[in-house]
């Protein structure tokens, strides 16, 4: 009576199965990129100012990527196919100013700017579309890739504030006077019927830019004074958007500090939608409520060094001894509320979607360079 052998009944042999779980692609081939680049190199003031300006246009044919296929085929793994042709174009500017040395002090500054855009020329063998950027396990795709649009464009519902009262909910109607969001309650998000068909559904999602920044820039400043050297490197991205999937996740599991200030009848002016168990209004749906401006400026590298006078070091048979101290990622200026506005993407089709990945860390370094 005391113990029964549950679970594994005696002599349960495990049989190993094997079967095709992936499809081969006999037509696979390498990607090819054709680039056109036109540029000007310039130099003024006896070399004090120099730089390059480039305009480029490249076309990648037969881009390789894991391609979603219908699971009615029996296969859920994604084969690699030459799924797309993509065009990238943009310009780059790089310019340096060197201040001539005087009294042992010299400095130079370099500015890099670049801008690029891309567009899908061809997608797949049937002009389909690829959804990705899932922010809820495999639910809730936030990006779409299709012909004529940029790679991994955000494809989201358009939100428009919060219903402050039941009257607001009742007023949000279509042309026939039917409520567009009958399951909503005061405190829920309002979504727009963008295609005007009188129904709020997946057809009302709109393309809202993508994860590529409008401007990518970097500034390097070097200065030397006697035996000291200073290096400052800043970089940043301007006009960058990011879908804050991590914030959505925290809202969904009631773990965000923002929720302390959520809408309640006694706090009707809040911009945080109301807490609810069942989320009947689907406030968690992919919308621009979670799309944020992730432009940033980061002090990426700061380093101060001192090289000991060579007269001293030569006695110890050391040619050059430099000590330095510095910091990486010291400061970041951004309005983005997620961990890191400079996250690298998880995949080709989900660029710009933040799923709460580990951010870059700030570090402090100190060291010695020795040359014999």
């Amino acid at each position: 009576m005391a113990e029964l052998s549950f679970g594994a009944a005696p002599s349960q042999q495990v049989y190993v199965g094997a079967i095709a779980t992936a499809l081969a692609n006999i037509n696979i081939k390498w990607e090819q990129t054709a680039t056109m680049n036109a540029g000007v190199s310039f130099s003024f003031l006896k070399g004090a100012i120099s730089g390059n300006v480039d305009y480029f246009r490249s076309r990648t044919s037969d881009m390789l990527a894991e391609t979603p296929i219908p699971s009615s085929s029996g296969i859920t793994s994604m084969p690699l196919t030459n799924i797309a042709d993509m065009e990238n174009k943009g310009w780059e500017l790089s310019t340096t100013y060197r201040n001539p040395a005087e009294k042992g002090f010299s400095w130079d500054v370099t500015l890099n700017l670049s801008h690029s855009r891309n567009k899908i020329i061809r997608l797949g063998y049937d002009e389909g579309m690829i959804s990705d950027g899932y922010v809820d396990y495999s639910n809730r795709a936030s990006t779409i890739t299709r012909k004529g649009e940029a790679l991994a464009s955000f494809y989201l519902f358009k939100s428009n504030g919060i219903f402050r009262s039941q009257a607001d909910v009742d007023a949000h109607v279509n042309k026939e006077g039917d409520k567009l969001q009958p399951n909503a309650a005061p405190g829920d998000l309002r979504f727009e019927d963008t295609n005007g068909d009188g129904q709020l559904n997946d057809d009302d999602k709109v393309i809202m830019g993508n994860g590529l920044p409008k401007l990518d820039y970097g500034l390097t400043f070097n200065a030397r004074y006697k035996n000291f050297d200073l290096m400052v490197f800043l970089n940043g991205k301007q006009g960058q958007k990011m879908y804050n999937g991590a914030k959505m996740f925290l809202y969904r599991f009631y773990r965000s500090a923002d929720l302390v200030n959520a809408w309640t009848p006694s706090n009707p002016g809040s911009e945080v939608y109301r807490l609810s168990d069942e989320d009947k209004n689907e406030n968690l749906r992919v919308s621009d409520y979670f799309l944020e401006d992730a432009s940033f400026l980061r002090l990426r590298n700061l380093q101060l060094g001192y090289t000991l006078p060579s007269a001293l070091t030569k006695k110890a048979y050391i040619n050059r001894l430099r000590i330095y101290a510095g910091a990486y990622n010291l400061l970041t200026f951004t309005k983005y509320t997620g961990f890191d506005p400079d996250l690298s993407n998880t995949g080709i089709f989900s660029r710009g979607v933040d799923r709460g990945y580990y951010p870059m860390s700030r570090s402090f370094v100190a060291g010695i360079n020795v040359g014999f």
């Binding site: 549950f6 009944a9 495990v14 199965g17 389909g128 959804s131 969904r252 009947k280």
Partner: protein, 506 residues
């Protein structure tokens, strides 16, 4: 001189034209490929094993199996009240899911993975000349059974699904349109009938659990029942009547002691084994209360508890199946803990320390390894279900007295008081809303599909919304007629297969 050069040129020319590109084609020696697989008996057995494996989930993961497939199949039912703090199946259970719900896609993918593998077996195994003809046909029969079972899930769940009967290897040809549901039902019947003819009655001990003739008959009967073909259903179930036996102990159906035993007709096979791959599942943790080391993913609904509490013995106590289904405030109610060896914990010991009053006891049994996930099989069809389905069919064929007898066989096993004197309509109501939920509460793929077939059928057509509301299902008010009777065609599928049309109102 000239001749020599001419001769050389001639030879060179022939050398070049004689060459072909064949030597550029290399076989993949690292992986099994189509060229090397499907040539031995071992391959055939591996192929059919993999097809059975798809019953667990499309990726073989125990988490997908519970969190995505079980919740999709079962959470909408009025017997389960899901824990609203957990995301799995939450939107489906509240009837607010959108078309991109992951649960619906997981069910679709799991069924089609099983179908795709079955298609491979059906196409390739007959060509394995080294095997005996009988064994080849038997394996094909098993594949057809599994294919039919998976289409059964799809047609009941989604209604409008593509009929895929061959394993397509060309990536550009994977887009297929949906077929009318009559075509799917017809294919299910064809596959099951062919399987019925070929499959053996039993297997040797080491292969117990593979599809048998009886399993094919049971599925056929169920298929007829779902289409309201009462006469054919009754006839088919009678063919297996008496071939199986109810376990003496109700709980033995769920604690692994009588796996593939006398009451088992077809089960999803698991074992506690971890040496080859992880063959366990976490079902016991999902239902147990936190006070007893569980995660409380779901609770018995109030209506279910009420219905169960009406299931009394002749002397006025509760029947075995009440104690075997729920853990509740009663001196005879207990749950095993997770120690080794496990001890029985009476309800009184944990009363007041738990979040809710009543929990599921079914499938809450521990392993013989302390605190680990378990390996007992999950029943897809068992003999008690067949008896109740036989009763339902017989009743519709106006054999109410005999039907009552079948119901009473099930009741006798659980020591529940016998029923008598019910008319045809009363017995139908009793089977639908009392007997089946009491005997088969929260079991794999039962309650929700039952509600759907009674709603689709023409015999005493069920008002689903009314029933859900009467049974206190939370968010029943969100149920929309002619929408929630099906799952949505997954948005992920429609994105890559523009031939698919979304189901009504999604």
């Amino acid at each position: 001189m000239k001749l020599k050069i001419a001769a050389l040129a001639f030879f060179s020319a022939t050398l070049f034209t004689a060459c072909s590109d064949k030597f550029l084609e290399l076989d993949d020696k690292q992986n099994l490929t189509e060229n090397t697989f499907w040539s031995t008996r071992q391959h055939a057995l591996q192929g059919i094993t993999a097809t059975y494996g798809a019953l667990q989930a499309y990726d073989g993961s125990k988490w997908t199996w519970f969190e995505s497939v079980y919740t999709t199949l079962n959470y909408k039912g009025d017997d389960i009240d899901n824990n609203k703090n957990e995301p799995y199946g939450k939107n489906l259970a509240a009837f607010v899911n959108s078309a991109d719900d992951n649960g619906a896609w997981s069910l679709w993918a799991t069924a089609y993975t099983g179908i795709g593998r079955a298609n491979q077996v059906i196409a390739k195994v007959p060509g394995i000349a080294v095997m005996a003809e009988t064994e080849r046909t038997q394996i094909v029969g098993e594949a057809k059974f599994l294919r039919a079972y998976n289409y059964f899930l799809l047609v009941n769940g989604f209604e409008n699904v593509p009929l895929v009967l061959t394993f397509e290897k060309d990536i550009t040809k994977l887009q297929v349109p949906q077929s009318p549901k009559e075509a799917i039902w017809a294919q299910i019947e064809k596959d099951l009938t062919e399987a019925e003819a070929i499959l053996p009655e039993t297997y040797p001990a080491e292969y117990k659990g593979r599809a048998t003739k009886g399993a094919a008959k049971a599925m056929l009967g169920k298929m007829f029942l779902f289409q309201e073909k009462w006469a054919q259903a009754e006839a088919k179930f009678r063919e297996i009547y008496g071939k199986y036996a109810l376990n003496d102990n109700f709980a033995d159906n769920f604690n692994g002691t009588k796996e593939n035993g006398p009451e088992s007709i077809f089960e999803i096979q698991w074992s506690g084994d971890r040496t080859v791959s992880d063959e366990r599942h976490p079902f016991n943790f999902e239902v147990r209360p936190g006070a007893l080391d569980g995660w409380e993913l779901m609770y018995p609904s109030d209506w279910l508890v009420q219905t169960l509490k009406n299931d009394k013995t002749d002397t006025g106590g509760y029947s075995d199946r009440v104690y075997g289904t729920i853990f509740f405030d009663d001196p005879n109610s207990y749950m095993w803990d997770l120690g080794t060896p496990a001890s029985r914990i009476p309800y009184a010991d944990v009363k007041g320390t738990m979040v809710r009053q009543v929990y599921f006891n079914k499938y809450a049994y521990p392993n013989d390894r302390s605190g680990a996930y378990v390996g007992y099989n999950i029943s897809i069809i068992r003999y008690a279900d067949v008896l109740l389905m036989l009763a339902e069919a017989a009743n519709e064929n106006n054999k109410t007295a005999e039907a009552t007898g079948f119901v009473n066989e099930v009741r006798t096993r659980a020591k529940a008081k016998l029923i008598s004197g019910l008319g045809k309509d009363q017995l139908r109501e009793h089977i639908r809303q009392v007997e089946r939920p009491t005997e088969l509460a929260m079991e794999w793929g039962i309650r929700w599909f039952d509600l759907m077939r009674w709603a689709r059928g023409n015999t005493a057509k069920l008002n689903v919304k009314g029933t859900l509301q009467a049974h206190g299902k939370p968010s029943a008010a969100n149920y929309v007629e002619d929408k929630h009777i099906r799952y949505p065609i997954p948005l992920k599928e429609i994105s890559v297969n523009p031939l698919l049309k979304q189901n009504h109102l999604y």
